[in-house]
Amino acid sequence: MKRTGASENTGAARAGEGPARGTSTPADQRRADADGGFGSHARDFARRMRSGEFGPLPGVVAVAVLWIIFQSLDQQFLSPRNLSNLSVDIVGTGMIALGLVFVLLLGDVDLSVGSVSGLTAAVFAVLNVNRGMPEWAAVLAALVVGAAIGAAQGFFSARLGVPAFVVTLAGLLAWNGLMLYVLGASGTVNLPEEGFVHALTSYYFREEAVAYGLAALSVAVFFLASYRDSRRRRSVGVMYRPLSVIAVRTAAVAVVAFAAAYILNRFQGLPLALLIFLLFVVGLDFVLRRTFYGRKIVSIGGGAEAARRAGMNVVWLRISAFMVSGTLAAVGGLFLASRVAAVGQTSGSSILLINAIAAAVIGGVSLFGGRGTTWSVLLGMLVIQSIASGMVLLGIPTPMQSVITGGVLLAAVVLDSLARQSQKAHGRA
């Protein structure tokens, strides 16, 4: 086992100062092998499972089980064509769910995201197609409308203290009505095929090298980032991931990335929509986990009073989270409109909201606030969309699909509640 001088010193100093102890404590084990061993990471994993920190595991298991079931029922399910379509279908709702994560982290909920996505898409379509505004300006207008709606709802909830679910429930109705008003008599606006919003979900990087190259790049970046972090941790003497663990994790990332690239290349190549979605997932994950702003959002969800006493401007932070949610709902709305090349009266339906919430919760975002990442959304969307796609392939009627999606959402929330209880019970042990 290799150790740096620094970590040896702190270890030795601690052992010397601590009370003499015959039995080995978790800390002893940690000192013994955290710096170099694989075992401590396995132990850490077991501890997390026991104390209810399931993380992404339920989502991964759900995807695996669903794929096996659907594939055994219909050979078309895991075909490159179906998987490629699935990867584009998750983007619109996924974007909405990404914004929802910010609000869910606060422990609030935004029920208006579906309607907001419909309204903003309608604003874009009417301005661009009917009024002849340049496409970029119409997109900007849609995003601004989304952010402004978020700010207004956030103000009522955070500043005036109205429960968020009531404010956004009112929004759910009001923004849907406004969308119908904006769309006017015709009720449907078709998007021009040459526009870039249309291209968002219809463009594919047909060059095989693009998908493979990006897969290789992301694996390399992942490895280098992990390795640098580990080296820095080692040099200052705090717990770090040994090279063996980094290698295993990198290998896992590589398998997933290259398998995805291979499958996508067997259909039409890497979809532009998927690439944009993944960039959003990675970027927002960084914001939430590594920036001061993200830490503040998470801490409000974990304990608003603690955050307030720590000097945070809780009201403004809450409003900002609702603005993120509104803006990303607008982004999602554009992708959804792009997918069907139109905005109509059924845009922004309530099934969208249910799917977005379900995706976040299934992936591991807690409804109680303070827990969850944007990767949860990717995983949750895979589950939701796999169910939808599989049921279509099997010819299950739409009403039944709603029942099943509702059941999946309930199951995810139950798991979330149980995890929370288990964590609390563990704290008292």
């Binding site: 404590t25 006493r309 704290g427």
Partner: protein
């Protein structure tokens, strides 16, 4: 004897027509644990709020190291080096130990957190040593810690700013027997480091165990200031409840000694 770290003289606080505090005297020296005891509604919390600047006094003088100071906002108290740990601890359940310790004082660049630097500083805090013995890592969420461990985290956070005076509000209320003993050890270590500690407590056992001085409040007034080693628990209890009418004369005698 050097000037006390904190001296409060003639502190009064009214809520409408009610005198929550009248003519309160209190002294805390560096390296001394002073217990503040009293029955419910005696004014303990109000006095703590006066010291921390959450609810400033209406009248009276506060001296810090012999210098006359004004504490009218929480920030004033923080600037002097007064930190408090409230009974509810005010922790973020879902953040890990390191995240909680640095809550509101995160390390990093302009926008990006420096997790490694924070974890390293947390490891260097000797208050957390008892915690590191029992936890697999400082990266476990606070929600899964025991009451005693959470208390330690809250105190570590309070000590991060290297205060001169630490106010602990009912710190042992949620702790078990062994955890309480560990906690009292911790207080003694802090005292030996030269911190002034104000311990607000109902638990006279704890008070007898660690406090050097006991200040008793009764109905918003001083009702005795005792040196712990020379005072029996019964004496303190009778002052707290106001059971002895001669407590008034008793107090006068004691105060004569202390002030001289």
């Amino acid at each position: 004897m050097s000037a006390p770290l904190l001296a409060m003289r003639g502190i009064c606080k009214r809520f409408g027509a009610v005198w929550a505090l009248s003519d309160i005297e209190l002294e805390i020296h560096a390296g001394e644990v002073v217990a503040l005891v009293g029955d419910n509604g005696a004014g303990k919390s109000t006095l703590v709020k006066v010291i921390t600047g959450v609810g400033p006094a209406d009248e009276g003088v506060i001296e810090w190291n012999g210098r006359h100071v004004r504490i009218s906002r929480p920030r004033d108290a923080q600037a002097l080096g007064i930190t408090s740990v409230y009974q509810d601890l005010a922790l973020c359940e879902t953040l890990d130990v390191v995240g909680n310790i640095f809550l509101g004082h995160e390390l990093g660049g302009k926008a990006i957190l420096d997790e490694v630097a924070m974890e390293r500083r947390a490891q260097e805090l000797d208050v957390l040593e008892s915690l590191s013995m029992r936890l697999p890592s400082f990266r476990v969420p606070v929600a899964s810690l025991s009451a005693g461990q959470r208390q330690t985290v809250a105190i570590a956070r309070a000590l991060l700013s290297e205060p001169r005076l630490l106010i602990l509000d009912e710190p042992t209320a949620a702790l078990g027997v062994r955890q309480t003993a560990q906690f009292l050890d911790l207080i003694e270590r802090l005292r030996d480091r030269g911190l002034g500690v104000l311990l607000v407590s109902h638990n006279l056992g704890d008070v007898k165990a660690v406090a050097d001085q006991v200040a008793v409040l009764h109905l918003g007034r001083n009702n005795g200031f005792f040196s712990v080693p020379t005072t029996s628990q019964e004496q303190i209890v009778s002052s707290m409840t106001g059971a002895t009418d001669n407590a008034v004369t008793h107090r006068r005698d004691r105060w004569g000694e202390v002030l001289r």
